[in-house]
């Protein structure tokens, strides 16, 4: 086959300059396509195609913009089955230099605790100065994994980040983060975990040749529990502390639908019900 790419840049050794940025991405069911089974009332996720978690596009853009500013590399990482390679291809198409698939039977059934542990080991293994994540995933919305990575590694964390400002001379990353009633600007020493706010970054379109490369010739690095020095007993279903006590459908409460004409009548009614004391 002659349809192999050529590398326009000489394969000169990578310089030691710049930061190593690792960005965490996840494959989720396309929320536009998730339907509700009209008979059971349950979410039908099986028929929804798997896509890149939308907030991760913001994370990718933030990561690439850090590389634009200080140089270095961006490596995307995801944990999942081999089919999750699709989202890594998307990351490489957007501009990531490399991508790693953290995959092992031992990880099956992991909740956010072992997941953030495995990812913490992965970003450490990849030598990250900065680990960037989306604020949450659209299929579980816990927002626990980015702080979990920071906690497992004992790194600083910046959450709900709206803008990043790398300060390479100081070896710190400054960020503007969303807080109630405004924003604050804080700086953290490297290494640091950054969780970006959804919708705050404008993801760049994939270049033509990069997209072709990502979809046809790119092969992700595969990392197993063994590669990461993870004991199989510390991950997976059995190592997941989350317990779902049960699920029930709550029936709507019947409303009395009484109308009162004046505020005084409302106060009387509330008083009669014992809601307020008079």
């Amino acid at each position: 086959m002659s349809d192999t790419a050529t590398d326009r840049e000489s394969s000169a050794a990578e310089s030691d300059d710049g930061w190593t940025v690792v960005v965490g991405v996840k494959q989720v069911p396309d929320s536009d396509e998730v339907g509700i089974d009209p008979d059971t009332g349950r979410l039908d996720r099986a028929n929804a195609p798997a896509v890149l978690n939308a907030p991760d596009r913001d994370a990718l853009e933030a990561a690439l913009s850090i590389r634009d500013a200080v140089g270095g590399t961006v490596t995307a990482v995801t944990m999942g089955p081999p089919t999750a390679t699709d989202v890594l291809e998307e990351a490489v198409a957007m501009g990531c230099d490399d991508a790693a698939l953290v995959t092992d039977r031992a990880f099956a059934g992991s909740d956010t605790w072992p997941t953030s542990y495995a990812l913490a080991e992965a970003v450490d293994h990849l030598g990250a100065d900065v680990a960037v994540c989306g604020e949450e995933t659209t299929d579980s919305s816990t927002g626990q994994v980015p702080p979990g990575i920071a906690a497992h590694n004992g790194w600083a964390q910046l959450t709900y980040v709206e803008d990043v400002d790398p300060l390479p001379e100081e070896g710190r990353l400054a960020a503007r983060r969303d807080v109630e009633g405004g924003h604050e600007r804080i700086a953290a020493d490297l290494p640091v975990v950054v969780a970006v706010a959804y919708g705050e970054f404008e993801p760049r379109p994939a270049g033509l040749h990069r997209k072709l490369y990502a979809e046809t010739d790119f092969e992700p690095l595969e990392l197993t529990a063994d590669d990461l020095g993870i004991d199989a007993d510390d991950v997976g279903m059995d190592a997941s502390p989350t317990q779902v006590g049960g699920m029930e459908t709550v029936d709507p409460v019947d409303r009395e639908k009484e109308t009162v004409e004046t505020p005084a009548e409302l106060l009387d009614a509330l008083s009669d019900e014992g809601v307020i004391a008079r």
Binding site: R8, S11, H209, L212
Partner: protein, 458 residues
């Protein structure tokens, strides 16, 4: 570089820093519709490295065609047994509509029930194009979606040598380009490969896909169908498209029906109401509405259809490129026959073969592709276009007669002929004949009219 130097400790190839696919593919196909995928399958089967560039999220995503697919050439190219077809066409019905009358002829030949079912199937192109493009990928082609080709790369001598896209770093070169971009052929026009079509040669097509939520058997019952048999209903006259030159259709899919109109864009831009209003009027015609009762619209779309016939076919070969399918004006849409899909497949296939032959000889000049226009000329595609080219002109000259007066006259004559009262039948027949003659200009007029349209049956 040796393989060892490329591979890292895990045995995978080192990632490239700045990959380039310039010259990596032998041919680039613009558009993953029927013509594009036919060309891609053909070239990939011949051992060429093929890149197909599609602007939609998936092939067919931008396609509003819901209708009859004719499969003689397709069957030669790919295994169609797994193709997502809806129903085979077991009935063709032609109706003249005035504002409130219908006069119809229905054909249900028994042999259409037997494979290969006259090579006519109803399909939804959103699904079919996706499947067809997958066949091209299975044959070895690379499909790149969500990428719009915006222009062509030319060498100093004018030879076409690649395409420009809307992506960053978006130019890619290859020896051959197949333009299969469809009826709205902006790339071909932008590159001066064809002139913008004159308004009188372009039809606007509007289509809805409707479902019947209340129960499953509605389509079979209303259209008198068993199992996977289907129907294609064609409508003409002012009840279908108002004052415009064109017609309407209803095709049965498996669980839905496709309902639509196609008429000339010059009419759409003039006094004619908006396309969706014309479609709504058609759907509420007294003889159409009962077929669609209780139906719910699930999809709406519009497209342009080139219908200039053989005279509108642009130059099909250029140094480094061929033009196929709708982009080449290869559509037959004249009222009696509504065909474009089989021509698209045929032209894509012939264009792809011509490139494979040229590649074999290491040539990219237009003369090297000459087998494509020659074989197309000799094929049913151009023969049919030429044969019916005159029809569009005739119909235009007689438009008031054909689309307005004749439907009324036929309905009135029919009503008169079968009128139940106490007059003798002979008198009714006489009056029916008079009503018809009055419209067509007597016996001489009728004879002239028949003579003018004799070619339809020749």
């Amino acid at each position: 570089m040796t393989d060892d130097a490329d591979a890292d400790a895990k045995g995978r190839r080192e990632p490239m820093r700045d990959p380039s696919y310039d010259g990596a593919f032998d041919a680039i196909v613009v558009g993953a519709g029927l013509a594009g995928s036919a060309a891609a399958v053909t070239m990939a089967d011949e051992g060429l490295d093929v890149l197909v560039i599609e602007r939609g999220r998936y092939p067919g995503a931008k396609n509003v065609f819901g209708g009859v697919l004719y499969t003689p050439t397709l069957r030669e190219l790919v295994d169609v047994t797994s193709a997502p077809v809806e129903r085979y066409v077991a009935e063709k019905r032609f109706s003249m509509l005035s504002d409130d009358d219908e006069t119809a002829v229905s054909l249900r030949p028994g042999e259409w029930h037997d494979p290969p079912h006259n090579d006519s199937y109803t399909v939804l192109r959103g699904e079919f194009d996706r499947w067809f493009a997958e066949q091209a990928v299975d044959a070895g082609a690379v499909l790149l979606t969500e990428t719009t080709v915006t222009g062509l790369v030319r060498e100093d001598d004018g030879r076409i040598a690649g395409v420009e896209t809307d992506r960053p770093d978006g130019t890619i070169t290859a020896d051959y380009v197949v333009l299969a971009e469809g009826g709205n052929s902006l790339v071909s026009e932008g590159a001066d490969l064809r002139k913008p079509e004159r308004a009188e040669n372009v039809a606007v097509g509007v289509k809805e896909v409707l479902e019947f939520p209340e129960r499953d058997e509605v389509i079979r019952d209303r259209f008198r169908l068993s199992n996977d048999a289907g129907a294609s209903y064609h409508y003409f006259g002012e009840g279908a498209v108002g004052d415009a030159v064109g017609g309407g259709f209803i095709y049965t899919n498996e669980d839905t029906v496709s309902v639509g109109l196609a008429y000339r864009i010059s009419d759409a831009a003039g006094s004619q109401p908006k396309p969706e209003q014309t479609l709504n009027a058609f759907k509420s015609h007294p003889s159409v509405a009962p077929l669609l009762r209780g139906a719910r619209t699930v999809e709406y779309g519009a497209k342009t259809i080139p219908e200039g016939g053989s005279e509108s076919i642009p130059k099909l070969v250029h140094d480094g490129a061929v033009v196929v399918g709708d982009a080449a004006g290869l559509v037959l849409n004249n009222g009696v026959h509504l065909e474009g899909t089989n021509m698209a497949v045929e032209s894509g296939h012939l264009g792809g073969e011509a490139i494979a032959e040229a590649a074999e000889r290491g040539r990219t000049d237009e003369a090297a592709f000459k087998s494509y226009p020659e074989r197309l000329e000799a094929s049913f595609v151009v023969q049919n276009l030429e044969r019916y080219g005159w029809l569009m002109e005739r119909v235009e000259a007689d438009r008031d007669l054909i689309f307005e007066e004749l439907p009324h006259a036929l309905a009135d004559a029919g009503a008169e002929y079968f009128r139940m009262d106490r007059e003798p039948k002979e008198k009714h027949a006489e009056e029916a004949r008079e009503r018809l003659f009055e419209t067509v200009g007597g016996l001489r007029g009728a004879a002239k009219l028949a003579y003018r349209y004799r070619e339809v049956l020749r």
